[in-house]
Amino acid sequence: MSVIKTSPNVPSRRDLFRLAAAAGVGGLGLPRGAAAAGVTLTFMHESSFIKAYDTYMQKTLVPAYEKESGNKLRYELLSVGSLQTRVTTAAETGQGPDITLNFFNWPYLYNEKYIDVSDIAEEAGRLNGGWTDSVKEAVVVDGKWKAVPFGNVGQLMVWRTDMFKAAGINAFPDTWEELYAAGVKLKVKGTPLGFELGHGFGDNHGWLYPLLWSYGAAEVLPDGKTIVLDSSETAAAVDYCRRLFKDTMNEEVLGWTDPNNNKSFLSEQISCTNNAASILWFAKNDFPDMAKMIAHAQNPAGPKGRFHILAPWSHSIFTHSKNQAAAKDFLRWLMNPKQLRGWLASADTYYAPFLKAFDTDPMWNIDPRYMPYRDSLATAHLPGWPAPVSRETSQSVAKYVVVDMFAKACAGASTREVIANAVAQLKQIYGQS
């Protein structure tokens, strides 16, 4: 008694309780949740552009979880572009939320600060028909799952059926060349194409990497060392891109960031862009007439096939979390189809799940126009593919090596020059200069 009174440093009973809970709920064989009762988990997320999705977490899942587990759950929402800053700060200072959302290759970047969640991921896979292979690129680091995949925010072709029809095109072009031919006609009609070529987070990589790959080109070989960007395939892709830009788009796309193409599409300035499903979703709410004439399609194919960008959302638990056991229980609970289905459905399948059992889930029937987002997963890869995720591929993305290679060509530089520049940058990034 007196000791506790005089020394403020002695852990309080609640702290001891927390420690006990953290030490291993499973190990003691206690019923889930019961031992962890009273802890507060913080779950950090980027605010989804679909409000209903965040609301579903706040109004349905959080109360359900709190009731079942006796824990508290704080759902912390951040703005777009802010999440990585917060994750970095948490990883660097060892303080902050217990669980976080990841994009792209973050499980790799923050690998050392994330706990191994292989058991949860493998169990979820086992119970739900297995995982789509492609997602493992993003979450499995050195053989361990460092994050539990949630869903893919696909980048696909979003197009106006009526504008295409007015230009005499009834189906979405199957190849890049056909898209070019269609685009020329569309631009004449005053409804050009509009693909981001600026420094956004996603809508630029979303079509430029697939374009590069579909011409058979790549930055680096799968060995993660050999730079192979200087090739005739790259040159063909660059030449194509320059033509596409000059003859089917307006100059402004060079300066676009991610919101610009949404705005341009919704204000009926362009007939086609490469984007997530956010345009259709927004149109359904605010422009129902236009929404009827919006459709999605997979990316066109090039000489060497059809590709898409992998943009996975996944969840990780920080090593600094004092409630790791409870956090793992929460993730396991969240991945249970009972919870997962509701959350995915609240977003109109905007997040395409990587669990194969969900491919036939009735939630896809809400609006079949989202189906291409499901079907594109099989050909989706992270920026930098076929090289494995590495610090070098991250640097290349951060420096917009591939995006700027295309953008400079569109702004007038020669193919040889832009490829040489990009290769020089890659050499520097890979320490070979």
Binding site: L109, G198, E251, E252, K263, A398, K399, A411, Q425, Q428
Partner: protein
Amino acid sequence: MASTSASLSSPAAAVAGRRRYREFFEREGIFSWLMVTPPLLFLAALVGYPFCYGIYLSLQERPVAQAGTFVGLDNFVTLAGDPVFWRVAANTMIYTVVATVLKAVGGLGLALVMNQVFPLKNLVRAALLLPFIVPTVLSTIAWMWILDPSFSVVNWTMINVFGADKPGPAWLGNPTLAMISVIIINTWRGLPFYAITLLAGLQTIPAELHEAATIDGASTWNRFRYITLPLLKPVIFIVTMFSVIFTFSDFQLIYVLTRGGPANATHLFATYAFDIAMLGGQFGLGAAVALAILPPLALILVALAIYMRRVG
């Protein structure tokens, strides 16, 4: 007052003691240090550590969330061979010099205008401060619309009034126009602060000086040239120097508007450092980029210090 109290012995000692005590604290050296120590300690505590940490980072190969290895000046060597870095350096120079000149000249002009007498003066003065008041992230979002070719008033007028071809200039898509656009926005945002600061400076100039000069037959230009400008000089100098520093390390505006695009045409030191460190997870290299602003800024500060000593 001091001499009358000397007649009583013990209070006199106390007074003398107090006086000595007081004199001690009234000495310029002592008084000054007592004054400046608390703020200096505050700054040292909160900025000293981060500053050293930044230098320490820049000397390391330091991936985010991992231990670093000491590499000496390798990061700076890497930067020296990075064409984007030099592009960023050139961008930052152009951005800073042009925007600062525009803000200084425009701000002085605005201060001179606001220093005159006209109806609703206070209201106008406050309204003209608005660009400086409104949170930069939000005003930049407004500019995103204003510069959108489909919505821009300039494009609308060119197309609908003068019959120009659609879509008109791509304010953020053309590399040159993009740089001009961000400079204009920066000027728009910073101009009012120059104006209000210089206005405060104008008002410390005694009216008698102008009156005397007018009686002596000095023209408006000469009064401005030989009275106003010299007296404003210290304030102009300080505001300009700090404006240079803030413009040099500008982040929010670019980050919201172009994020450095198109093809690095508007990338600045701060945004490039942020991309490398945050998106790319290379803390060491990012810190090196950020610290590359040190030499040019240090030069500016040395100029400041020399100037202040000469004036002071």
